[in-house]
Amino acid sequence: MFSKTSQNVRNDRIEGRWRTLFLVMTALLILPVVIILTLLIIRGGPAITWEFISGFPIKGMTQGGIFPALMGTIFLVSLGLVFSVPLGIAAAIYLSEYASDNKLTRIINLAIINLAGVPSIVHALFGLGAFVLFMEFGTSILAASLTLAIMALPVVIVATKESLEAVPYAFREACWSLGATKWQTIRKIVLPNAVSGILTGVILEVSRTAGETAPIMFTGAAFFLPFLPESVYDQTMALSLHLFVVATQVPNVPESLPYGVALLLIMLVLLMNALSIGFRVRFRSKKKW
């Protein structure tokens, strides 16, 4: 009654084929990542020394360190965060907790999701037009950060909305039934339970903007500056642009230099991702629903 029939045998064979196919696809996907990382570590690893991280570029950027670029990226990303995080979280709270579910809200939500898919070069040109020229910030850290912020906003909003919506509705209802206003409910129950998700989303977004080149190229990142910026109206170097420059624009660069810059950039991004995964794991273990 329970023995294998020819139909079972055929099913097993088909099952095996699909399994193999999916496995191969996964391997093909992972392989390039592994190759890139290995190559970067082998070629760029030796370049990464303390002098490389803390020194200024010298001899037409063919030698020396990348300190101003590293600092520039940190400035740009952090200032971008200062703009995008409060704004994004506030907008997400409004959209998911206050806005009534009507056509307009749905259109806005759709627009935000689509904004996240706008190519970064479009944001770059918008930043150039709006911040550099119209608002007369010039090519500056301020203009570049604002451009990065605009680019990050939709992602911050979507991540925040998702984390807010993951907090069970029953909690809100319980709060309201005890006489809490919407804001009291958000502050005491919803936000504390959504904060891990929001943080995860924000950090992931940071790691993404840290690597962006186009949006800052037109708005505030400089080809080469032998000093650190003094105010937000100065230009700055940035890692991503520096990588592009030493890899394609400068002659006689030793091979290990661009690899070193790339490795450093990837390490920065991976560090951020690891941080966000760490948060997620830590908070998830505390949740009980």
């Binding site: 009534s100 579910d101 009507n102 029953a170 909690f171 209802e173 319980a174 709060c175 309201w176 039934s177 005890l178 006489g179 809490a180 206003t181 009291q184 005491k188 129950i189 339970n193 949740k287 009980k288 629903w289």
Partner: protein
């Protein structure tokens, strides 16, 4: 810049504030009332705690309640029965205005709680909700500690610092009233979500008590519980009877019969019949009521 004139902390002032809040009327207006009836069954004409007048309610274009006239007597347990979808929850939820979270809900008619129109423009709906407690079908303690759950409503009504001794007393009193104190007194700082469902539901009742609600609404409070826990909650409801007016929705005929003073039967958004529980179950006026009680439809 000069210094801001910060008033000296005044002890008397604080006391006066606290005192004030005790005398405060349910929804911020002046009315006089008595709501402590020691033995409701001896009171021949109990007052109405809840009274709806021609209450109709629409979800968008769908009408869920049709001219419901319903009086819930003070201090009694009133059960609300009827087939699924007949509007029991809707009626219950219009008594604490929690239905309004949906933008598309429209209400006509009046709901008076202890003599006050809770839909009047001067009424604040957070006041309504805090003084008309609600227990939900699925126990929904907040994801904070047991202690914070109990004090949540109290802190909303009494912002600012509350002496720890006052808090301790409230927590103990509330937990004792729902018979949880002995089990939970050593884990007040544990998460409320770690409790059993029965304990969670009792906690959900306990957290209503510190704000001294006038009316407690319960929407199928036992349907997520096993028979033993159900019996425990029923006992508890019976204990709270008298001090609180309880309106309870149930699908469980046996429960309505043994655990309520009065019973109301609804059908398709209309109030069919309302009377003493024994009358409804033994000699209902309407055939539909009899059929429903006998389980001919559900």
């Amino acid at each position: 810049m000069g210094k801001l004139p910060i008033p000296e902390p005044q002890i008397m002032w604080r006391v006066a504030l606290v005192d004030n809040s005790k005398n405060e009327n349910p929804f911020g207006e002046v009315i006089s009332m008595e709501h402590h009836i020691d033995d409701p069954s001896n009171d021949s004409t109990p007052k109405n705690a809840v009274e709806t007048t021609d209450l109709s309610l629409w979800y968008g274009s769908f009408q869920a309640l049709f001219n419901v006239n319903f009086k819930v007597k003070q201090g009694l347990v009133t059960s609300l029965i009827g087939p699924s979808g007949c509007g029991k929850s809707t009626l219950l939820r219009s008594v604490n205005r929690i239905n309004e979270r949906f933008g598309y809900v429209r209400t006509e008619g009046q709901v008076h709680v202890l003599g006050q129109d809770i839909y009047a423009p001067t009424v604040d709906k957070t006041q309504v909700r805090s003084q008309i407690g609600m227990v939900f079908q699925r126990p929904n303690p907040l994801p904070v500690t047991i202690r914070k759950n109990i004090l949540f409503g109290y802190h909303l009504k009494n912002p600012g610092r509350v002496a720890a001794s006052v808090e301790d007393e409230l927590v103990e009193k509330s937990l004792r009233e729902v018979l949880l104190w002995d089990d939970l007194k050593d884990k007040l700082n544990h998460s409320a979500l770690s409790l059993s469902l029965e304990q969670q539901q009792k906690l959900c009742i306990a957290r209503l008590l510190p704000v001294k609600p006038k009316v407690i609404l319960m929407d199928e409070p036992c349907s997520a519980l096993d028979p033993e826990a159900t019996a425990a909650i029923e006992d508890l409801i019976w204990d709270l009877r008298g001090e609180y007016t309880i309106l309870i929705v149930t699908h469980n005929m046996a429960q309505a019969r043994r655990a309520s003073d009065e019973c109301a039967f609804m059908l398709m958004g209309k109030m069919v019949e309302h009377g003493k529980t024994e009358d409804i179950f033994v000699t209902p006026d309407h055939q539909q009521t009899a059929d429903y009680i006998e389980g001919k439809f559900g």
